[in-house]
Symmetry: C3
């Protein structure tokens, strides 16, 4: 049932953009160093949600980024930003968990989507791996730089970028073993998703390269 799976992937893609925008809006509203206005919250929500995909498409140079061509991505980002703005003060711990859960699903799928598009553009597997990671973590990085901080994924944390890389790597491995695109995508996306959830659950964290002195 490839149609069903494609529809599911597209749905997770939009959900990922929605959740990315929601997370961006929430972190902008809660930022304590700055007093962001409506433009700031919306801008950071859009950067979080679409920054990774736009970076991917700028690198692949196959025409304007998908987010500017398929209006549904902007709609999803706008909806996420609006929900974040309106419900910021009412987002409790259980809602946070749902956000983290969907974000983990989107992380795996964005990584696989980035690698897929890279292969389709004729790139080798190593750049396709890198581009998968960039697609998954790029939005957060753009948001962090716009919020005047070093990207969180560069610091100690619960395997965010590593889960993205794991998704891309497993997808590329399946592709190399000539599995169908549906199976490769599912395996790849699930691997990163699971690793990220396990890391969050069991507090698996990367170690800082520089030790305490």
């Amino acid at each position: 049932m490839p149609l069903h799976i494609d529809t599911l992937f597209l749905l997770i893609d939009f959900l990922g953009v929605f959740v990315g925008a929601l997370g961006g809006a929430l972190s902008a509203v809660r930022e304590t160093r700055y007093k962001y206005d409506l433009v700031g919250v919306t801008g950071l929500a859009f950067a979080s949600a679409l920054g990774g995909g736009i970076t991917r498409d700028l690198i692949l140079q196959k025409g304007p980024p998908l987010a500017f061509v398929d209006v549904r991505y902007l709609m999803a980002a706008l909806a996420g930003a609006a929900v974040g703005l309106v419900f910021a003060s009412r987002v409790g711990r259980s809602t946070e968990r749902v956000i983290v859960f969907i974000d983990a699903a989107a992380l795996g799928l964005f990584a696989v989507a980035g690698s897929t598009r890279a292969l389709e553009a004729g790139l080798h597997r190593l750049p396709a791996f890198l581009l998968g990671g960039v697609t998954a973590v790029g939005g957060g990085c753009v948001r962090d730089v716009l919020s005047e901080r070093t990207p969180k994924i560069f610091e100690r944390g619960e395997l965010y970028a590593i889960a993205a890389g794991f998704s891309a790597a497993m997808f590329l491995l399946c592709d190399w073993l000539h599995f169908s695109r549906e199976i490769s995508t599912t395996v790849g996306a699930l691997c990163g998703f699971s690793l990220r959830l396990l890391a969050l659950r069991f507090h698996w964290r990367t170690r800082p390269v520089r030790r305490e002195t």
Copy 2:
């Protein structure tokens, strides 16, 4: 007289780049946290003046950015940087007002120019609206990030980004109503220009999303 109007638009475009570079150079010279050298002032002037248009052209993917193809844009930016460097200590309040005035005119026109190019590239109205805003405020954002601060347009202020969005929206409305390109451009540019000047005059400011506690 479409020719006259086109010439006028081009003139405001160059003036906008000149004033953008001048403003970037002035803020770099006056920056108190860093000691920028000649390279820093020129770099920040260029980023302010050309960052928005370059971002727009990177997204549209219709060949190298206009600023790298039409040498007059680099010339205008260079002239703005040079004037900013030489006259930084002699810029008084009345000159500042002229700069703010021309900057407001450029804000409206840059927004319309961004939306126009987006429509010409076959994008829908919603992405064209977004790209108009990005074109108008992108240069300032790039400069702010390079100066190690969060974009000023994200914080409380006198409707800078909102005036740019208003310009793009009104232009797209006129275009949708099948007005001629000249009329749509004029109406769009004037709307953002007027809103920005009114906001400055009457201190209309956006509200921060996060309230004082």
Copy 3:
């Protein structure tokens, strides 16, 4: 012997990427404000090594950046990042000098490579000059922004960006005088290389535009 010279240029190009990544990894490991993990060190190493060339290729819009097409660039960056990670604590003053030396060679060659590609893409000399500089200093700027600081080349220093600009300018002058590509490249690269080494040796520094008060 154009073949020999081309091979030599390519070798310096890869060495430059390797050294760029090595320098990026070392500065990430030594960063005191943050505790970068493996992802952070690798990310900053890649940004330092490849940021300039990627920016150049995004602007020229001739297909995906070279770093994503020719896998050897990623390999060189990966090797530099790995060496930086493993040997960070054992890099002494003499190794630092070798790094600075190779970095100066790469600075000149990257500037010339950027200008060459700009001319090949049909750009004028002034944008080609600018793009040469951007190629040479872009990686460091991207790294600085990702490390939450203003680009070092914008502040007082030993003629880093000016050496890059000198390389690009001398190359474009030779090209304008109809010298062969090999001679123009050699002269251009050597000029910036020498100027940078002389500036380091004799402590030639730019002056801050803003004086002490």
